[in-house]
C-alpha cells in the first residue's frame, strides 16, 4: 500500500477530485492548508495597511492506495493539477505498513 499526499492549487481541486473518481478512487482526506515552497508569498498594500500574503492557500489531498492504483493516481493528479506556473504544488509518496478498518478490524488492502 502507498500513501499519496498531494498539495495542489485550490482552483485545481475540483478537476483533480473528479478525475480521481473517474479512475475509481473514491476515498480521500482533504484539508484546507496554507504554505509556500519556493513560490514564497508577497505583500499587498490595501488602504495604507500592509498585508503579508506569505502563506498561500492550498488544498492537501491524502489517500492510501493499493499498489495497482498508485501510478494512475499520480498521473491523474499531474495531469489535472498542472498549470505550468510556480505554485502548482507537490506530490509526496510513501509506503504504508498496515491499514486497519476500525469498524470491523479488517486489515491490509481489504481495509482500504
Amino acid at each position: 500500500m502507498t500513501r499519496i499526499e498531494a498539495i495542489i492549487q485550490p482552483s485545481r481541486f475540483e478537476a483533480v477530485k473528479t478525475a480521481l473518481h473517474e479512475i475509481g478512487i473514491e476515498g480521500m482526506t482533504v484539508s484546507e492548508v496554507r504554505g509556500h515552497g519556493r513560490q514564497k508569498g508577497h505583500t499587498e498594500t490595501y488602504r495604507g495597511r500592509e498585508y503579508e500574503v506569505d502563506l498561500l492557500p492550498k488544498v492537501k489531498i491524502e489517500m492510501v492506495l493499493p499498489y495497482n492504483l498508485v501510478d494512475s493516481a499520480i498521473q491523474t493528479i499531474l495531469k489535472h493539477a498542472k498549470t505550468g506556473k510556480i505554485g502548482d504544488g507537490k506530490i509526496f509518496i510513501s509506503k504504508i505498513d498496515e491499514a486497519i478498518r476500525i469498524r470491523d478490524e479488517e486489515r491490509g488492502e481489504a481495509a482500504l
Binding site: P10, F13, E44, T45, Y46, G48, Y51, G87
Partner: protein
C-alpha cells in the same frame, strides 16, 4: 433466561408489526414501556422477593413517562432506604441489571438512597430532570411514596430555580449549536430545535413553573395554554411516529432524519393521516410545521419562566417598545398585543415589526396568531403598497432585523407583501452542504452581516470594516432576502428565476432604478466570487482583471464580497472556515487594488466599445423629460466617452452616464454644470466642466467653507478635457436640511468659485477658527505612498490620514501649489481615516522623484 429472551423478542416483534401496520408511534412507545414493566416486575419477584421492603425500582426519564422508543436507553432507578440495605441488596440489584443487559436492552441504571434523591447536584442536573418523570415499578411501595411525596417535592422546593436555570442553559446551548433555527435540512428528531427534547422541555418548564402544584404530580401538559395543547399533541404524535420509524429502520437509537430516511418516511406516509404517501418536500413541510409549534411553546415557556437576564439596556428596550407602541406590552420577554384590532392597519403593523428589529423582542405566539388573522384586512396579497420601501429599509438596517423578518414570515406578513417568497417557505433543497431550508438560509445570511457589528474572530474583522464603509447596506440585505427565491421556481437556473421574481418586488417597493440595478447585480453575480475562489487562481492577474471588469465599481465589490461571506456562512455552521474567509478577503484586496491602480491606465476607446454607446443612446432616446434621437447624438456621445477611464463606464449605469452627457451638452450655455441632490442621509454633487487649475481644490474648498463633510469623491477626465467630478458629502450641522433654500445658494457659490467670479479665500475665512474647536477623537498617522508602476503616464499617490473638515481642500490645494494636475481621484473615508488615491501629472508627465519628495514634505507638514 432463554424463555425470557424469546418472549421479549416475540413481544418486541409484535410491537414492531403493529407499528408497521398503523404507524402509531405513541402506541408503540407505550407498548414498549409496558413490556419493560412486565420484565422488570418479573425479575424483581424472581431475583429479590415479591414483598421486599426498604428497596424499590423506579422508572425515570422517558421510561418513566411511558414513552420508550424502540432503541432508547431504559432509565431505571434502584432506590434503597439506607446504606445498609443498599449494601445488602447491591448484588441482587446488579443481577437484575445484568439480566436486562443480557436481553440486549440498553439499560442506564442508577443506585441511590432515598435521602440522596433530595440533593441537587450541579454536576448532574440531567439526573434531577429525569426524576421529574418518575414511576413506580416494583418493590416497597411505601418507600416509593416517600420518594414521590416527600423527597422529590423537597428537592424541587429547594432547587427549583437551579433546575430551571440548568434546563434553560442546556436548552439555549443546544439551540445555539443548531443556529437557533428549526429549519435544518437533515434535522435530529430528538435534539434539533423543535424536536422531542424541546417537547419535554416544555413539559418540565411548565411543571416547574407551578411550584404549588408540584406535589400533585399532574400531567405537565395541563399547565400549557389551552389553545396550544392540541397542536402540541399532534406534533408529538408526528415526531413519535417518525422516531419509531427511524429506530426500526436503522436498528439503533439513531434520530438523524437524513434525506434518504425523509424519502422513505414520506413514501410510507409516516405520521400522516391514513398513511397517505407524500413527496419528501411536502412531508418535511409537515415536519417543520410541528417543529415550529414545539419550538415556539418551549422557548416561550422558558422566556416566561426564566427571562434572559434583565439588564438596564433590555429594560430600556422594553420601555422603548411600550412607549412607541402603547398598544403592546411585554410579558415574559415577549410582545403581547393589548389592542389586536390595531394591527389591521399595515403601517402600525410594520412599525411593530420595526420595533422588534430595533429591540430584539419576540412576538408571543398569541400575538403572532392575532397578526395572521388580521392580515387579510391589513393588506391585499402582493398589492403595491405606496412607501413600503422606507419601513422595510429601516427594518433591514436595524440590529435585530433577522428576528423581525422571521416574525414577519411566521405570521405570514412577509409572503403577503412579497408572494415571491412563498415558494421557498420551509423549502428543502437536497445537497450535501446545505443544513437549512432556503428561507432559513436567507435569514441566517442577513444575520451573518448584522453580526459583523461585533466581530468575534480576527478573520471576521476585515469584513466588519468593509461593512462599516457601505453606502447603502439595505441593498445588500434586500438582495440576501430574495437571492434564492429562484430555488423554489420551476426553472433550471435559480439565479435567472430569482432575477425574474425580484422585478415584482422592485415594482412593489418603488425602488429607484440605480438601487434596483445594484440588487439585480448582486443576485445575478452572487456565485461569482465563490466560483473564482473554487475554480480560478485568485493570485493570477488575469483572474483579477476579468473579475474586476465584471464587478465594475469598488462599492459593488464591497457589496459582493460581503454577500459571498454571508451566503457561504449561511450554508452550514462550518462552511466558512478561516481559510476560506482569508482567501475571500485576499481576493477582495487584490481586486480593490486592481481597480484603483489600473484606473488611469485603462481608458475607454469608444470605437471598440460600441455596445456601451448603444445602451446609453437607447436610454437617451427613451428619456421621459428630454428624448434625444438626433443623428449627431452618437457622435457627440462618442466624443464625450473617448479617453475616460474604463472604470467610469463600468461603475456608472447607462442612465447615470446619460445624465452626465446631457450636462455636457449644456456646457455650451454655461461652462459649469452642477447637479446637487439629496440621498438618504447624504448629498451628491455632480459637476461637469472643462478642466482647469484649482478645480478640485475649489469645489472641496467651497464645501469645506459650508461645513460639509466630504466622505467620498471621484474625478474623471476625458480626452477632450471635460471633467466629471462627483462629491458625496454629509451635512453635520444640518444647514441644508433646516434651510432648503440654501441648496441653491451653495450651488451658486460653487459655480462662482469654479468660474473664478468669487475668490475662494473669501468663503474660507472663519473656517480655521471653527476647526480648531474640534480635536479629533482618535489619532491616525499620515502615510504617503507614491507608485510609478500603476500608470504609464501618471504617478499614483495614495494617502491615508486623519479625516477632518476641509481635508480634501488642503490636499488638492497642495497639489495645485506644487504644480500637480489631478488626472483621476478617488476619495474614500473609513471611520476617522481618509483613504485617498490621486493620479497626478506635472505638465502631462509623471512626477520626478524630487517632485514626489517635495509634495510628500508639503503633505506631511500639513498633516
Amino acid at each position: 433466561m432463554t424463555s425470557l429472551r424469546d418472549s421479549c423478542a416475540a413481544e418486541s416483534a409484535r410491537i414492531e408489526r403493529e407499528f408497521e401496520a398503523a404507524s402509531d408511534g405513541r402506541r408503540a412507545i407505550q407498548a414498549r414501556a409496558a413490556q419493560m414493566d412486565q420484565i422488570v416486575v418479573e425479575l424483581t419477584h424472581t431475583l429479590l422477593a415479591p414483598d421486599i421492603t426498604r428497596v424499590c425500582l423506579v422508572a425515570i426519564g422517558g421510561y418513566g413517562r411511558q414513552a420508550l422508543f424502540p432503541f432508547s436507553d431504559i432509565d431505571l432507578l434502584f432506590v434503597c432506604e439506607d446504606a445498609a440495605t443498599l449494601k445488602r441488596y447491591r448484588d441482587p440489584l446488579r443481577n437484575i441489571a445484568q439480566v436486562l443487559w443480557d436481553l440486549r436492552l440498553k439499560l442506564s441504571p442508577a443506585y441511590r438512597l432515598v435521602s440522596e434523591c433530595e440533593a441537587f447536584s450541579r454536576d448532574n442536573p440531567e439526573f434531577a430532570v429525569s426524576l421529574l418523570d418518575q414511576r413506580y415499578l416494583a418493590g416497597d411501595p411505601r418507600l416509593f411514596s416517600r420518594l414521590h411525596q416527600e423527597a422529590l417535592p423537597r428537592l424541587l422546593a429547594r432547587s427549583r430555580s437551579d433546575l430551571l436555570r440548568d434546563i434553560s442553559h442546556l436548552t439555549r446551548q443546544r439551540h445555539a449549536k443548531e443556529g437557533h433555527t428549526i429549519f435544518h435540512l437533515e434535522p435530529n428528531l430528538k435534539n434539533s430545535p423543535g424536536g422531542l427534547r424541546d417537547y419535554h422541555t416544555a413539559c418540565w418548564v411548565a411543571m416547574l413553573s407551578h411550584p404549588d402544584r408540584i406535589a400533585d404530580w399532574a400531567a405537565p401538559e395541563n399547565f400549557w395554554p389551552q389553545q396550544r395543547r392540541e397542536e402540541m399533541r399532534q406534533a408529538f404524535d408526528f415526531l413519535a411516529a417518525a422516531r419509531c420509524f427511524l429506530h426500526y429502520r436503522q436498528g439503533r437509537d439513531d434520530n438523524g432524519l437524513s434525506y434518504e430516511l425523509q424519502a422513505a418516511a414520506a413514501g410510507r406516509g409516516i405520521g400522516v393521516e391514513a398513511g397517505r404517501p407524500l413527496e419528501p418536500a411536502d412531508w418535511m413541510r409537515i415536519y417543520f410545521r410541528h417543529a415550529r409549534a414545539i419550538y415556539s411553546l418551549s422557548t416561550q415557556l422558558l422566556d416566561e419562566a426564566l427571562p434572559v437576564p434583565v439588564t438596564l439596556l433590555s429594560r430600556f428596550a422594553g420601555w422603548r417598545a411600550r412607549r412607541s407602541h402603547p398598544e403592546t406590552s411585554v410579558a415574559g420577554g415577549r410582545l403581547v398585543l393589548n389592542q389586536p384590532e390595531l394591527v389591521r392597519d399595515l403601517s402600525r403593523l410594520l412599525s411593530l415589526f420595526l420595533s422588534i428589529a430595533q429591540n430584539g423582542l419576540k412576538l408571543s405566539r398569541e400575538a403572532e396568531e392575532q397578526i395572521s388573522r388580521a392580515l387579510p384586512a391589513a393588506v391585499e396579497s402582493g398589492a403595491r403598497v405606496p412607501g413600503l420601501w422606507e419601513p422595510l429599509r429601516q427594518i433591514l438596517l436595524a440590529p435585530h432585523a433577522p428576528s423581525a423578518l422571521r416574525a414577519m414570515h411566521s405570521s405570514g406578513l412577509l409572503v403577503r407583501l412579497f408572494p415571491e417568497f412563498a415558494v421557498i417557505d420551509s423549502l428543502v433543497i437536497r445537497d450535501f452542504y446545505h443544513h437549512y431550508t432556503v428561507d432559513a438560509h436567507s435569514f441566517i445570511a442577513i444575520e451573518n452581516i448584522h453580526r459583523l457589528r461585533q466581530a468575534q474572530h480576527d478573520w471576521e474583522r476585515p469584513f466588519s470594516a468593509i461593512f462599516s464603509e457601505l453606502e447603502q447596506p439595505e441593498l445588500l440585505f434586500l438582495s440576501l432576502l430574495f437571492h434564492d427565491v429562484g430555488k423554489g421556481m420551476p426553472c433550471d437556473d435559480h439565479v435567472a428565476g430569482g432575477l425574474q421574481a425580484v422585478e415584482g418586488v422592485f415594482q412593489r417597493l418603488g425602488l429607484e432604478a440605480e438601487e434596483a440595478d445594484t440588487v439585480r447585480f448582486l443576485i445575478r453575480e452572487h456565485l461569482q466570487m465563490s466560483v473564482n475562489l473554487l475554480r480560478r487562481d485568485i493570485f493570477d492577474p488575469e483572474t483579477i482583471r476579468a473579475f474586476a471588469e465584471k464587478v465594475g465599481s469598488p462599492e459593488r465589490l464591497k457589496l459582493l464580497t460581503l454577500f459571498t461571506y454571508a451566503d457561504i456562512r449561511a450554508v452550514n455552521p462550518e462552511a466558512l472556515t478561516p481559510w476560506k474567509a482569508e482567501s475571500l478577503f485576499q481576493f477582495y484586496v487584490s481586486t480593490a487594488n486592481y481597480m484603483s491602480r489600473s484606473l488611469d491606465e485603462e481608458r475607454f476607446h469608444a470605437a471598440a466599445q460600441d455596445q456601451h454607446i448603444q445602451r446609453i443612446l437607447s436610454v437617451l432616446a427613451k428619456s421621459a423629460t428630454q428624448p434625444d434621437t438626433r443623428p449627431e447624438t452618437q457622435h457627440d456621445l462618442t466624443a464625450f466617452l473617448e479617453g475616460l477611464p474604463r472604470r467610469y463606464v463600468l461603475a456608472h449605469t447607462p442612465e447615470e452616464i446619460a445624465i452626465h452627457f446631457q450636462m455636457v451638452q449644456q456646457l455650451k450655455k454655461s461652462d459649469v454644470q452642477l447637479r446637487l441632490s439629496k440621498r438618504e442621509h447624504w448629498y451628491r454633487l455632480i459637476l461637469v466642466t472643462t478642466d482647469r487649475p484649482f478645480l478640485f481644490a475649489g469645489i472641496s474648498g467651497v464645501l469645506a467653507a459650508w461645513g460639509m463633510n466630504i466622505w467620498k469623491a471621484e474625478a474623471f477626465g476625458n480626452a477632450a478635457g471635460i471633467v466629471v467630478d462627483t462629491f458625496h458629502f454629509t451635512d453635520p450641522h444640518r444647514t441644508l436640511e433646516l434651510n432648503p433654500s440654501e441648496l441653491q445658494r451653495l450651488e451658486q457659490n460653487i459655480a462662482a468659485v469654479v468660474s473664478g467670479k468669487t475668490p475662494l479665500e473669501e468663503l474660507m475665512r472663519g473656517r480655521a477658527a471653527s476647526q480648531a474647536l474640534r480635536p479629533p477623537k482618535i489619532s491616525v498617522a499620515t502615510e504617503v505612498r507614491f507608485d510609478d508602476s500603476s500608470s504609464s503616464h501618471s504617478t499614483l499617490l495614495e494617502i491615508v490620514t486623519q479625516d477632518r473638515p476641509g481635508l480634501l481642500y488642503h490636499l488638492s490645494s497642495a497639489f495645485a501649489h506644487t504644480g500637480c494636475n489631478i488626472e483621476v481621484a478617488l476619495i474614500d473615508t473609513e471611520g476617522q481615516r481618509a483613504v485617498d488615491a490621486f493620479y497626478l501629472t506635472v505638465q502631462g508627465r509623471k512626477l520626478s522623484l524630487e517632485h514626489q519628495q517635495k509634495l510628500r514634505d508639503v503633505l506631511l507638514a500639513g498633516a
